[in-house]
């Protein structure tokens, strides 16, 4: 597809990296010459220097021929103008980043008038992601397929866990559930395991199961979902604000610590149910005073990556059950894994992934058959959902007889309203939804799973 990306900030560059690797024709527009040149050097894209909303620049980028325009500059108004004029010039679809809560409120009207295909609010999306992780205390991340019929959850194998030293063949027996371990992260490598794979403590596994089965496993490992009573949010930024709103609506207790007087006042006005503390979130004395020892969860959302990391390390040390930190620099992610910080959210990656899912779905109508795509295991593996629409060699053959590619696993089959965690005897039938986990990228069709 021909995609024009306006604005190469954090989200824009993450998008360029991902989408160019997927083989799209990408034109990048930014008003900073060095940024544009840098992008054109690092990725196989064309860079145009200028204001993305100006007509001549859009003409140069041949927006009229583009299938998709994504506006991710730091200004909402510019993004909207970009999309509006692109749409008028004949661009297929447009996506705008709109983060100002005031515009956010009138989005339905804006979408209609601007002809937006999708809008995205990075802070809101990030808050939503954190909210989901907080609800499942033991799983670090949960993705759903086929309207929630199958889930993929990431779990860390702890030293005292039954899973440590477990052969995957016996997994179902031990837990008495139908579930499949579809990917294992060990230090820096990622495995798509078979039945003889033995788990070690420290591994991070991705588990496929129907939601009720997943819950059973969580119970067995000793982490039951319990109601959050006391959540610390360090930093009252927009993400913190949205997150607090979401948590309060479920009745959780929320404590927000921010060191800006005005901001703290604003939050306490807007969210009267939250406890707002004016102070420095890195100050351990303050955290103690507010009872960090009794917290169910802590979310570090200050504007500085390093502060978030340090606060989280301290919270871990204080045995807070669930700790989430916001880290923007993606280069640091694997580093943090090694010091036991599991729940790292990166707004730019979350935003980029949401847009990429949209692009994938769009491509679907243009020839690819991917229904849903998630990056799992730190983006090193993909979980994809296909629908078996046309007859092919894959259909009707017992799975054990299929010669699939290396590092690929058929993790789930959804037939009607029944979710199957398949074994070698199962087969894919016409009309099934199939979840495939693989470290190969760029599968475009179900038949691509064959070697």
């Amino acid at each position: 597809m021909r995609i024009v990306i306006v604005g190469c900030g954090k989200v824009g560059s993450a998008l360029v990296e991902q989408l160019s690797a997927e083989g799209h024709d990408i034109v990048v527009i930014d008003s900073d010459k060095e940024t544009v040149d840098g992008m054109a050097n690092m990725y196989d894209v064309i860079g145009i220097y200028g204001n993305g909303a100006s007509h001549p620049v859009q003409e140069e980028a041949e927006v009229s021929k583009a299938d998709l325009l994504i506006a991710t500059t730091s200004f909402d108004e510019l993004n909207m103008l970009c999309c509006l004029s692109a749409k008028k010039m004949g661009a297929g679809n447009t996506i705008a980043r709109i983060r100002n809560p005031e515009y956010f409120a009138q989005l339905d009207f804006l979408r209609e008038e601007l002809g937006l295909s999708m809008h995205i609010n990075p802070e809101y999306a990030t808050a939503g992601e954190i909210f989901r992780t907080l609800r499942f205390t033991s799983a670090q991340k949960i993705e759903t397929f086929a309207n929630g019929m199958i889930e993929i959850a990431e779990i860390r194998v702890t030293e005292d866990s039954v899973m440590s030293g477990l052969r995957l063949k016996d997994f179902g027996k031990v837990f008495d559930v139908k579930a499949l371990v579809c990917a294992v992260q060990r230090v820096d490598s990622i495995f798509i395991p078979d039945g003889n794979f033995v788990l070690e403590s420290g591994d991070k596994i991705s588990l496929v199961a129907a939601p009720d089965q997943a819950e059973k496993i969580f119970e067995k490992i000793g982490h039951v979902r319990k109601k959050l009573r006391n959540v610390f949010i360090i930093g009252g930024s927009r993400i913190g604000f949205y997150l607090a709103q979401m948590l309060l609506s479920t009745g959780a207790g929320v404590k927000i610590i921010d060191n800006d007087d005005k901001r703290a006042r604003y939050i306490s006005e807007e969210l009267p149910k939250a406890t707002v503390i004016l102070g420095d979130g890195t100050d351990q004395e303050l955290l103690h005073e507010e009872g960090i020892g009794n917290a169910d969860a802590l979310v570090a959302l200050t504007g500085v990556d390093e502060e978030n990391v340090i606060i989280s390390m301290y919270a871990n040390y204080m045995k807070v059950e669930k700790v989430v930190a916001k880290v923007n620099r993606s280069g640091m992610l694997s580093l943090l894994d090694n010091i036991g910080l599991d729940n790292i959210v990166s707004p730019k990656l979350i935003t980029a992934n949401m847009i990429i899912q949209y692009v994938r779905a769009m491509k679907n109508t243009l020839g690819s058959n991917v229904e849903t795509l998630y990056k799992i295991a730190r983006g090193k593996a993909e979980a994809l959902e296909f629908i078996a629409r046309q007859a092919s060699d894959v259909i009707g053959v017992p799975l054990k007889k299929l010669k699939t590619r290396k590092n690929l696993l058929i993790a789930g089959i959804i037939r009607g309203n029944q979710a199957i965690i398949p074994n070698g005897e199962d087969r894919i039938l016409m009309g099934d939804r199939v979840v495939v986990v693989t470290t190969n990228t760029r599968l475009d069709d179900l038949s691509d799973i064959l070697a």
Partner: protein, 479 residues
């Protein structure tokens, strides 16, 4: 620096070279020549080296600008060394230095030869010599990139190999850009072959001269170059095509996509055509007394002018006999060179244009010390770092020219010969004045001078920086 990746890319390029070597082998088979074995042996050697270098795919694939420069320089040296093998193995050129000189002269589209008896060569070798022009003109790496993905960051390679101060892409994907460039290139070459055949040239000669024109190289299979054909039609066809291949290929892309505005906005094109027109008029008027007929004078003036500014180096008239004024214009045109993004060599019109604009800006700044102004080309501002590169380019250009001239003077020729030989090689033209005259060869130069001139050709074709970077020991240090 990512050495593994550098050698891996190098291996891929050498593998493609092995395939190239099969083409002249085919020509030799058609003409039943023994040279076929020398090509097959060379191809096998290239394939082995290529396979050896690409045995293991490096885990770390990231490369940066400096790696791009080094890959490009090493690739050009490697293809020249391996490309020289057929000449050596067939014993048709006995000295390896001469073989190397001939191949470098081919790939860099210089077209100066170290042999005197080209008409006695086997056809396979003549074909190979001209084919190196054709591939070298648009670029070895560009060709490879059109077929196989070398690295995710091929832009660094493209920028290091493509001529001109500012290199951009036509379409988002580099692979497609390379394909489009080669499609235009193949199309124009094919049209020229057809037109030459229609002019009564044999098929083999047409292909040889179309390759020589397309790459703006200048190798001919006749000792007398194009003057061997006594046909006004052929002279005009070659004049027009030399001029066409000296134009930035982006212009053709704009024409095909009907983007006429970009064509008209192109300042370099206007200046390039303007310089050609003025030079033709000046030379024609100046040489008129030597000619009986105005038409022939204009035709010869046009051919020599276009041949020199595009750095092709074909000859239809012995301009050593022309007045000093005309000769001087030709020497100046040698330095001017063709357009950026064409197959021509030299300094390039756009670079001169930008340098002039920069200089005028500095002059204005002396008048208004606090003035701020942006240098622009084709209506778009040019980045200060690009401008700085151009300044550096000129500095190194002069230093290299000076050192070459000094070292050449150790050989036994006069200043005119040395200076024009240096200018001819550094700007990838071919013929020089003085001792050899336009129809002469480099055979009388010493082996050391030939090596020095080969190096100059590589410097000229790759526009200094890749080779300078590779020769800088600091880049090879591990820390």
């Amino acid at each position: 620096m990512n050495r593994r990746m550098i050698f891996y890319i190098l291996g891929q390029i050498i593998k493609i070279l092995a395939l190239f070597l099969l083409l002249p082998a085919l020509v030799s088979v058609i003409y039943r020549e023994n040279a076929v074995y020398s090509f097959l042996i060379s191809a096998v050697i290239a394939a082995l080296i290529g396979l050896l270098l690409t045995l293991k795919k490096p885990a770390e694939k990231r490369i940066y600008a400096k790696d791009g420069f080094v890959v490009t320089a090493l690739a050009w040296i490697a293809v020249s060394l391996i490309g020289a093998l057929p000449f050596y193995i067939s014993r048709e050129i006995p000295s390896f230095i001469d073989c190397f000189f001939e191949t470098v002269s081919g790939f860099t589209t210089t077209g100066g030869t170290a042999v005197n008896n080209i008409e006695g060569f086997s056809r396979g070798l003549i074909f190979w010599r001209s084919f190196t022009h054709w591939i070298g003109g648009m670029g070895v790496l560009v060709f490879v990139m059109a077929i196989i993905p070398l690295t995710g960051r091929s832009m660094y390679l493209m920028r290091a190999e493509s001529p001109g101060p500012i290199v951009g892409k036509l379409v988002p994907k580099l692979k497609n850009t390379a394909k489009i460039l080669y499609a235009i290139y193949i199309f124009l070459t094919a049209v020229e072959v057809l037109l030459l055949i229609m002019g009564g040239m044999s098929v083999f000669d047409s292909v040889i001269h179309a390759f020589g024109t397309a790459g703006t190289g200048g190798f001919s299979n006749k000792a007398a170059s194009i003057a061997a054909y006594n046909s006004t039609y052929i002279h005009i066809v070659i004049t027009v095509f030399m001029a066409l291949f000296g134009i930035n290929f982006n212009i053709y892309f704009f024409l095909v996509t009907r983007n006429f505005r970009s064509v008209f906005k192109n300042e370099e094109l206007r200046w390039y055509l303007g310089i050609i027109a003025v030079a033709i008029i000046l030379i024609a008027v100046n040489i008129m007394p030597h000619y009986s007929n105005v038409g022939t004078a204009v035709k010869d003036a046009a051919f020599q002018t276009v041949s020199t500014i595009t750095t092709t180096g074909y000859v239809t008239a012995d301009y050593a006999e022309w007045p000093e004024f005309s000769q001087t214009i030709l020497v100046l045109l040698m330095f001017c060179g063709a357009s950026a993004g064409s197959t021509g060599g030299g300094i390039k019109v756009s670079r001169l244009l930008l340098y002039a604009k920069m200089s005028l800006r500095e002059l204005r700044r002396m008048l208004h010390p606090k003035s701020v102004s942006v240098v622009s080309l084709d209506g778009k501002p040019v980045g200060e770092s690009n401008l700085a590169d151009i300044g550096t380019y000129f500095a190194f250009y002069l230093i290299i020219a000076a050192i070459t001239l000094l070292l050449l003077s150790l050989d036994r020729f006069d200043f005119k010969t040395n200076f024009t030989a240096m200018a001819s090689c550094l700007n990838n033209i071919g013929p020089f004045l003085g001792r050899g005259g336009p129809f002469g060869s480099y055979s009388e130069f010493s082996a050391a001078s030939k090596l020095l001139l080969s190096l100059n050709m590589l410097f000229g074709r790759l526009e200094l920086f890749p080779l300078l970077m590779t020769l800088n020991p600091a880049i090879w240090k591990k820390h």
